[in-house]
Symmetry: C2
Subunit: 562 residues, 2 copies
Amino acid sequence: MAQTWEERAKEKREAILAAIPQEWRIRNPPNDEQVDVTGNFIQQFLTKREIEITETTADEIVRYTVSGRWSAEEVTRAFCHRAALAHQLTNCLHEIFFDAAINDAKAADAYFSQHKKPLGPLHGLPVSLKDQFHVRGVETTMGYVGWIGTFEGRTGTGKEKRFESEMVRELRASGAILYCKTAVPHTLMAGETINNIIGYTWNPKNRNLAAGGSSGGEGALIGLRGSPVGLGTDIGASIRAPSSFNGLYGLRPSTGRLPYEGMANSMDGQNSVLSVVGPMATSVASLRLITKAILAQKPWLHDPLVHELPWRYEQEREILELTGAIGDASKVGKLSFGILWSDGHVSPQPPVRRALHIVVSALQSQGHEVIDWTPPSHKDLVDGIMEAFTFDGGADIRGAFSLSGEKPSDQVAFFAQPGKEFSASEIAATNVRLRQLRKNYTDYWNSTVKLTTTGRPVDALICPVAPFPAARPKGYLYYGYTGFVNVLDYTSVALPVTNVDKTVDVADDGYQPINGLDKTVQELYDPDIYDGAHVGVQLVGRRLQEEKILALAEYIGKILGK
Amino acid sequence: MAQTWEERAKEKREAILAAIPQEWRIRNPPNDEQVDVTGNFIQQFLTKREIEITETTADEIVRYTVSGRWSAEEVTRAFCHRAALAHQLTNCLHEIFFDAAINDAKAADAYFSQHKKPLGPLHGLPVSLKDQFHVRGVETTMGYVGWIGTFEGRTGTGKEKRFESEMVRELRASGAILYCKTAVPHTLMAGETINNIIGYTWNPKNRNLAAGGSSGGEGALIGLRGSPVGLGTDIGASIRAPSSFNGLYGLRPSTGRLPYEGMANSMDGQNSVLSVVGPMATSVASLRLITKAILAQKPWLHDPLVHELPWRYEQEREILELTGAIGDASKVGKLSFGILWSDGHVSPQPPVRRALHIVVSALQSQGHEVIDWTPPSHKDLVDGIMEAFTFDGGADIRGAFSLSGEKPSDQVAFFAQPGKEFSASEIAATNVRLRQLRKNYTDYWNSTVKLTTTGRPVDALICPVAPFPAARPKGYLYYGYTGFVNVLDYTSVALPVTNVDKTVDVADDGYQPINGLDKTVQELYDPDIYDGAHVGVQLVGRRLQEEKILALAEYIGKILGK
């Protein structure tokens, strides 16, 4: 008799667990009282050496591996172990291929022994991948039960467990070691990570809260130091939310910077607002490392949508000079930032407001200027993105769910409900309107040259990632702070700022809500529940300003004492 | 009583003529026997000094104007005069604003007198614009009777005769003088130029033939040296066909290189295959001049779709070094080209075949290699572009015609007929398929590294622009040689090679047609009718390779003795 979808999901869930060696199993899982499973908690299961390796940032790890001081195998085994623990504590993995990884690591070590040089700039570095990447030997389910045993829901394609995404090829060519794929919400269209296969991915710093989404598995995994650097995707929040929720740095590059070629996706072919791929890690240097490594592979020769933009050191240098990191004193100067305290639709909760203040104060104390950001309507941008997301009336998503008959989670139910398909003329009208909104925002950005004292428009915009430090389950009610960036296709980095302190971040009882949604969002803030949670902010730059925004994010991290 | 559309078209047609000063009118228009109106023929109406100025290329003109040796006013008056003649001989203009141009030229001269420096790199250079650019003081009809007196068919927008396209602003900021807008086929969707306002735009070199389209007014105008450099647009052939048909160089850049912001268009918002804007001129140096000038204006800060790609001299240098134009002998090396003799669907007529042979022989005689190009199916690419062009089932185009009730010309009737609109899911499926075709072509291009002896894949592809040297009226039956480039978003330059010689380019009586369409196209070749016509070819590079392909086109021009 045919399996039910519940049986197939359970079988897959158990197969994931079964890929974890017995000696890495947690015999007595922590109960709900253990809210924070990071730091000391997870360290109890690891050796001192494993802790040393896994708490080293990616940029530092490769300094040891490319010089042969650390073996790829030792580094890989340590991260496999910690990733296995992370999964047991938060449900963050979809695919585990530790054996293949250790074999690849051994091969890397053998190469190094023989040639006395590394395979590439990522030699021996474990890199985790969101479960949209195709990697040989394992499946891509993207959280859909109906995709189990298929290639993107289809069988007999010859690609099953064989085909690799373009970026996977480039990572391997750079010497990276691939060892796991991380959890996503089925459909990818949620800021929480949940699906019928692995369940709910919890925030390891505060298991009352979501790890974020859709790159939530990455967020939880890296948050627990089960990976030094991972790759997520972002069409509305999906790199920045899980980065911010887990105390990480995450880069949402502009479209055409990094190769998306050959990855699984939802609503593939919707090309009005494109998903992008980008890195998440515990340091900006780690983001830069992997971005530079991929660009060094000339992805524009292999992905027709990537622009020929090698890493541009001159963009970075300008910031390094202005901030005195390099060059002589004559080049040190003032930076100028916009600050968006509220988008006028849903305001940030107290801890997020405090994080914004911390960043603004730190910048001002260094002599930089911060001006209030009063841009064209963000609501128009957010309305526009929702149109693009519903062009097909949910057809693609319903098709994926119907393969197995599984039930959509509440978090994505909106996108699975039947709606009217847009016609070509309607899509064209949306495209024209979105282009006009982009033009208006560009003009606004240019106009800030009149408000700054630097002779330049603002260098970047500081704004919330979300109204909350992290979403409560089923509580991700507003995407406006990230979605506007996707419509504009701007460069953005999420960066960690502080942690919720229930004694400081008390509820604002006198707050006057802007509207009903704002009221609901504010009421979801509970200092006792949020205590300890990470709080990040977002640094937004213009299109294709990855080098500059990474340099600025690193500088802010430095003056915040990170 | 309200005017009929015929009356409104006639009124506009007469208003265009009326903008030509009496002393520039041709009293005795040539009859049909006068097939070629270029060279000596048009020179009879001009002074020696006017001939000297107007037969100087744009790059040379600015050497005189930026140094103050030639006044902007004198240069502008000469081109206005010659443009006025060109219109009377070929119907190539939609808007004439010579008075505004001469005022702008006087202001440029005054600026130079006062500041002892030019306004910018295009100081005093007349630049003609296809009638999709909005320029203050004049209309944009795009050939539609229903757009007369409106802003893109709408009234009361406040933009009528005021709004300027982004590139117009950039041209003015560079010191260029704008003086006329050139004819297009209504809808823009034809390789011939015809509309109910100005009629048919003839090929000045051979008035049996089309000037090409959709930038056909530009082609005829520059072909007659009524403009030193102009800007056209291209979504399927529209820069390259009129360039080739008129013995010109024309650059079809990749999308996102030059700013399209604020231009009128057909089917605006169809974003699967995008129209691009690019220059047409009598020399590659002229194309380079204007491209560099626009990029120096940092269009990416003003057009949200333009990538931050300043002019990259290093791309050019590689070619200059390989061809020995600069650098030492050790850097001279072999170039490698693909040659597409036929796309297997419609083959080139004898003169085009001969032009391909001329280019191949010239390259081989210089020691370069040319390999046969056997790419993935071009038919799939051409089928894909036709889908994109018919997404809206003709709704946009029928809407534009319905504003006046005018009759579509036979050349565009296909796009005006009612069809079914694509749904969002269908558009998404087309987009996915087009992306796959682009990927396949990219992989094919990379694979040629195995066929060349340079250690690189081919540097560029040589192929026809069209199966014919120029279209005969209503004879533009196949767009496959240009359309595939638009789907791939590759960089392309049309370049002049030779002229039809009826004694050499005899009909190929033994030719075995590939199919019915090929048979029809071959039968349209008549040596007597085509005698003297320009014959060009196309040089195609990968995406965003403008600097490299221009350098290669210039080199080929040089070895051809152009």
